[in-house]
């Protein structure tokens, strides 16, 4: 029964989680080009959103263009590993791994892995600071909650003894 309730809940809440998102379709034309189109979850075309191809190794922008009125772009596949980004503004970016050209990429990811790791560590540090603050907040909240139980018990005992005194 509880499983059913959980499934219904999951079914009902799914739309909120995925509401108003951007979607990107990427197709391999099999002639060293890719075909890209962008949509919102409403079905509306993402005309004007920027399509960017970024090199995986360096983060260098290899290609960028806004989706035209036709809402589609055909792009030459880069020779090195890359990511395809559909940039719909702040907090509305989606990424997809770049499709390799026929015969594979000519360049490979090499030395910048260390740099990528450093960036990730920095991002983590910022996250940790926030977590520390939240943890302190939770500890204070738990202390206050325990205090409510202690005070409540103390006052209840006091009142019970008063009540008993009154009876006598």
């Amino acid at each position: 029964m509880s499983k059913k309730v959980f499934l219904i809940f999951l079914f009902l809440t799914q739309s909120l989680v995925y509401g108003h998102n951007l979607f990107m379709n990427v197709y391999d034309n099999e002639d060293n080009t890719i075909f890209i189109e962008g949509f919102f979850s409403t079905g509306e075309a993402a005309i004007g959103a920027q399509i960017r191809l970024e090199a995986l190794a360096t983060g260098e922008v290899l290609y960028k263009k806004r989706l035209p009125i036709e809402n589609e772009l055909t792009i030459q596949i880069p020779i090195e590993p890359y990511t395809i980004i559909l940039d719909g503004g702040p907090q509305h970016q989606i990424e997809k791994e770049g499709i390799p050209p026929l015969g594979g990429f000519l360049k490979e990811i090499s030395k910048t892995e260390k740099e990528i790791k450093e960036i990730k560590i920095k991002e983590k540090e910022v996250g940790i600071k926030k977590i520390t603050i939240i943890l302190i907040g939770i500890i204070v909240a738990l202390t206050l909650l325990s205090l409510t139980i202690v005070i409540c018990a103390k006052n209840t005992n006091k009142l019970i003894s008063r009540l008993e005194e009154n009876k006598q």
């Binding site: 809440t13 004007g48 920027q50 806004r66 926030k130």
Partner: protein, 524 residues
């Protein structure tokens, strides 16, 4: 037999109303309490930001071309569908330039300079709004508040049935009778608007989630997202106009605003949409709210004037009544809840009604507690967990909210994680009021302390704002920053009222009996 059935129905209705009411009223009180702040959110969001401390000016005197040049000179910025939010939109004195796919840029209309507010961490108004509908607890909070709204509708309708079916005595001579009378009388007058607000609230919080299966059936399995499905009808996408890639000189935006104002004289223009800017096909759409057609526009529906940006020729003049009936219905339905574009008087009116409703909820709670307290009358202090809990929820929230306003200006704006720290202080101070209400055996004293401290803290919030921002009440008045001044004055007035109430309220149960029944006691 019929009499027995009616009696049984009344009894069941009454016990359902009181047992459901006790549980729901606490949540509904929170929603209403923060809802009142949300009504004034446009003013609070201006008050909370140092970067918005300048006078609001007339939209036609700004040099929009200079501002636009600063934006469009970036080759990466799209030239189509740029939105300019005019000064005064949602009471923000700044000009906001937005594009769907670009971060928003804010400009000071006096200096035409970009407002750099990257380090201005501020989310007071937004947080108060989130607390209004359970958003801090994400989807679970939204569902709980949605269910509470549904429960409130049951309570309102059940309450109205009770008033019709039962004969209540309005000449009660004790606190309990008075609480019952005020609970009924206030809700009787506020219920028509309150019911609409609660209904729309329930729809927004829970209706969209539960409409998933129905959406799937209606769209024959194509979509199950109601928001996506309805937005294509409520906010129909405009057909894109293909750019001719021929650069031509545009007319001045201030001139175009004047033209639009001459075409539709009753509308308050809020936004300008620039289509294919600098191209031969360029158009300007002026979007606004017509205050003479409340309930017909202001939410989804807006009055629009579409002009050619090349020669100022009128292309389309769209009035509120031109929209499909579905859009008009949606606007009428949501208008009183969302209050997007309405004037300050409508806001105050709705806020007063909701304020009265919070009192009615409070009296309902007092009625229930008074009935329980009577059992222990004269024997021992009434120390019920629900009484203490509701004391912390209903009155403890006042000093905690005041602390939220204080920390807004006391904590540095560039402090890392300022918003998180501010919210944690708020939650813990609220929890602290629960500790205090359990600690004090005399709940009357605790109530007085919450109100008094809340009053002092609200006044202090205004003083701290004046010191830190460098704008005293007088200088705010002199600089014509009336929106900010009104928030400061409201905080001082609210604080003073709370202090007066705390002084006037009874100190203990004995004096409370006299206090709640002054009229009768005086006459005898």
């Amino acid at each position: 037999m019929k009499e027995l059935k009616t009696k049984l129905l009344k009894q069941r209705l009454y016990s359902l109303h009181s047992s459901l009411g006790v549980f729901i009223s606490l949540f509904m009180y929170i929603s209403l309490f923060f809802g009142i702040f949300t009504i004034f959110k446009p003013f609070i969001t201006v008050w909370e930001k140092p970067s918005r401390h300048f006078e609001r000016i007339d939209s036609t005197v700004t040099d929009y071309e200079k501002i636009l040049k600063a934006i469009i000179s970036n080759p990466n910025y799209p030239k189509n569908n740029i939105y300019i939010e005019l000064p005064g939109y949602f009471d923000d004195p700044a000009i906001k330039i937005t594009h769907r796919f670009m971060p928003a840029n804010y400009f000071n209309p006096y200096t035409n300079q970009k407002i750099e507010a990257k380090n201005e961490l501020s989310y007071l108004g937004g947080f108060l709004n989130h607390l209004h509908y359970g958003r801090p607890f994400m989807i679970i909070g939204k569902i709980i508040f949605g269910l509470i709204a549904i429960g409130t509708m049951v309570l309102i309708l059940g309450g109205l049935m009770l008033i019709i079916k039962m004969k209540f005595n309005n000449k009660g001579r004790n606190g309990q009778a008075n609480f019952s009378k005020w609970h009924r009388k206030i809700f009787l007058y506020t219920s028509p608007i309150f019911l609409i607000i609660v209904l729309t609230g329930a729809l927004m919080n829970i209706g969209y989630i539960t409409a998933k299966p129905l959406t799937s059936i209606v769209t024959k399995g194509e979509s199950n997202d109601i928001i996506s499905f309805t937005s294509s009808v409520l906010k129909p996408a405009q057909v894109p106009i293909k750019s001719l890639e021929e650069e031509v000189k545009m007319l001045s935006i201030s001139k175009l605003i004047q033209k639009a104002k001459n075409i539709n004289t009753s509308v308050n223009y809020q936004k300008i949409k620039l289509i294919n800017w600098n191209d031969k096909t360029a158009r300007v759409q002026f979007i606004g709210y017509n205050p003479y057609k409340p309930f017909l526009n202001g939410v989804y529906n807006k009055e629009k004037v579409l002009l050619s940006a090349v020669d100022g020729r009128l292309i389309k003049d769209i009035r509120a009544e031109d929209s499909a009936w579905v859009i008009l219905f949606a606007d009428a339905f949501y208008f009183i809840h969302l209050l997007y574009d309405v004037d300050i008087f409508t806001r105050i009116f709705v806020a007063l009604l909701m304020g009265l409703s919070t009192f009615a909820i409070g009296f309902g709670m007092l009625l229930w507690l008074e009935r329980k307290a009577k059992i222990f009358d004269g024997k021992v202090v009434f120390y019920h967990w629900l009484g203490r809990f509701s004391l912390a929820i209903m009155l403890g929230v006042i000093p905690s909210t005041a602390i939220l306003f204080i920390t807004q200006w006391l904590l540095p704006f560039d402090l890392a994680n300022k918003i998180t720290i501010q919210q944690i202080i708020f939650y813990n101070s609220w929890l602290g009021t629960l500790v205090w209400s359990l600690y004090r055996l005399n709940s009357y004293k605790a109530a007085k302390e919450f109100l008094f401290s809340g009053g002092i803290l609200f006044i202090l919030a205004s003083i701290i704002h004046q010191i830190v921002s460098g704008f005293s009440l007088f200088s705010l008045y002199e600089s014509k920053m009336f929106d900010i001044l009104s928030v400061d004055l409201s905080l001082i007035i609210l604080g003073s009222i709370l202090i007066i109430i705390s002084i006037k309220l009874p100190k203990n149960r004995e004096s409370a009996k006299f206090f709640w029944n002054k009229k009768y006691t005086r006459s005898t």
